[in-house]
């Protein structure tokens, strides 16, 4: 889906920040707890890696940006728990208020509705009996599509033509796996683009590779 998470090429974000060598992994203790909680919440919701990323991309601007990176993870973990009715809407906020001394009624625990889902194997890589549809060196175009559900095809690459650089191992397709509609494993292609084909004649000269699942690609006419 098109959301705030898809940031490639988006204007208006200002300067980058030079790296700091002494930066701790978690700048505050709650960040480490939010990191672990997000992973465990997604697991408790019956989710997978792709459903978690889809939860991240469904967050609105405030939930994606304002609480920082691990706040974003916390919010996505909570959203997964709401999706599966492990938690009731408002449960976290009500408990948080009670923790700071208010007396608010907490919603009753709902009847969980976890997805009917189990992976066919560990991890995300899968072996395919079929051969890749595209060859190294072949010109391909990223499809110009804007699916309502999850996708890992960034907006900035849609409709652009590049050349297959590396055929990567096949993996589960995030677009269906995120919605528990099957793993639909496909080959992944690292496609090399010229910056001028991507950003126009005035762009800095450079090359860019984007890793795309087979169904994201088509043969240019």
């Amino acid at each position: 889906m098109d959301g705030i998470a898809d940031m490639g090429g988006a204007p208006g974000w200002g300067s980058v920040h030079p790296p700091r060598q002494d930066e701790p992994v978690f700048s505050q203790p709650w960040e480490g707890r939010a990191f672990a909680l997000a992973i465990l919440s997604n697991r408790a919701s019956g989710g997978n890696l792709d459903s978690f990323r889809h939860a991240l991309e469904r967050l609105d601007r405030a939930h994606y940006i304002d609480d920082g990176y691990y706040g974003r993870w916390l919010n996505a973990g909570e959203l997964r728990l709401l999706d599966s009715a492990v938690l009731a809407p408002g449960a976290v906020d009500a408990r948080a208020r009670n923790l700071r001394g208010e007396h608010v009624e907490e919603p009753p625990v709902p009847e969980p509705a976890k997805p009917d889902y189990a992976p066919t194997a560990d991890g995300t890589l899968r072996c395919l009996a079929t051969a890749p549809a595209f060859a190294v060196g072949e010109r391909v175009r990223a499809r110009d599509m804007s699916p309502a559900g999850h996708t890992r095809l960034p907006r900035y690459v849609r409709g652009r033509i590049g050349v297959v650089d590396i055929i990567q191992p096949a993996g589960v397709l995030p677009d269906s796996n995120a919605h528990f509609l099957g793993e639909n494993p496909q080959y992944v292609y690292s496609v090399r683009f010229d910056s001028h084909d991507m950003w126009g004649a005035d762009a800095e000269p450079f090359e860019l590779t984007v890793d795309m699942f087979e169904s994201y690609l088509e043969t240019p006419s």
């Binding site: 998470a5 940031m7 490639g8 090429g9 988006a10 974000w13 200002g14 980058v16 920040h17 030079p18 790296p19 700091r20 060598q21 930066e23 700048s27 505050q28 709650w30 480490g32 939010a34 990191f35 909680l37 465990l40 919440s41 408790a44 991240l56 469904r58 967050l59 405030a62 939930h63 940006i65 920082g68 916390l74 909570e78 492990v86 449960a91 976290v92 906020d93 009500a94 408990r95 948080a96 208020r97 923790l99 700071r100 995300t124 890589l125 890992r152 960034p154 900035y156 992944v188 690292s190 090399r192 991507m198 950003w199 800095e204 000269p205 450079f206 090359e207 860019l208 590779t209 984007v210």
Partner: protein
């Protein structure tokens, strides 16, 4: 747009984290030991030192370097590193004339087994948005000036493929041992936003 909000006031994430942890723990839905294990693993055990060991080995062992560039995942596994967020790692080499830099424009995908969790600059919207459009300007803002004739390749980590940069060995360090080279290798050089400096 779906959100998690129930109320108008936005409660601080630290407080909401505590609330969620309490709710899940009291229902037995999460194991506090698993929770603490995850935090310790990524705060203490898995970090860029792993990647530095891979790089130092590649700099001192030409056969290993060849294997690393041919099949990164297998060569990295030889040193005991691999797993979650590192199922398939491709290693690309920076030289005097060719420079690779890595990003994830869609979230902040990063090769956890060799670099740990990503630093704040890697997760920054400005980096994610701009490095695929104007990498030379971005690298310059980060303190890395590249000569005009250096060919830049940006790698956007949009699948489960993870990218690791093999930085150029700094001149004058050829006499150092693998163990002496390890502390010179920085996280930033292994993502491609810095070079490794001689001691």
């Amino acid at each position: 747009m779906t959100t998690t909000a129930g109320s108008a006031e936005r409660l601080p994430p630290a407080l909401r984290t505590e609330a969620l942890e309490q709710l899940l723990t009291e229902r037995g839905l999460i194991d506090p030991k698993a929770m603490n294990g995850l935090i310790t693993t990524y705060e203490t055990n898995i970090g860029p030192l792993n990647g530095a060991k891979v790089v130092a080995r590649a700099w001192t062992d030409p056969e290993y370097r060849r294997r690393l560039l041919e099949d990164g995942t297998a060569a990295i596994d030889e040193l005991g590193f691999g797993g979650f967020q590192g199922e398939h790692i491709v290693v690309v080499e920076n030289t005097a004339t060719s420079h690779n830099v890595v990003v994830c424009t869609l979230c902040s995908c990063y090769p956890w087994p060799v670099l740990g969790l990503p630093p704040s600059w890697y997760k920054d919207p400005a980096y994610r948005a701009r490095v695929v459009k104007e990498p030379r300007a971005v690298l310059s803002e980060m303190g890395l000036e590249l000569a005009d004739d250096v060919r830049i390749t940006v790698h956007d980590s949009t699948s489960e493929v993870r990218w690791l940069v093999l930085p150029e060995q700094p001149p004058g360090t050829e006499h150092l041992t693998e163990e002496e080279l390890v502390p010179l290798v920085t996280r930033d050089a292994m993502v491609g936003v810095a070079k490794v400096a001689a001691p």
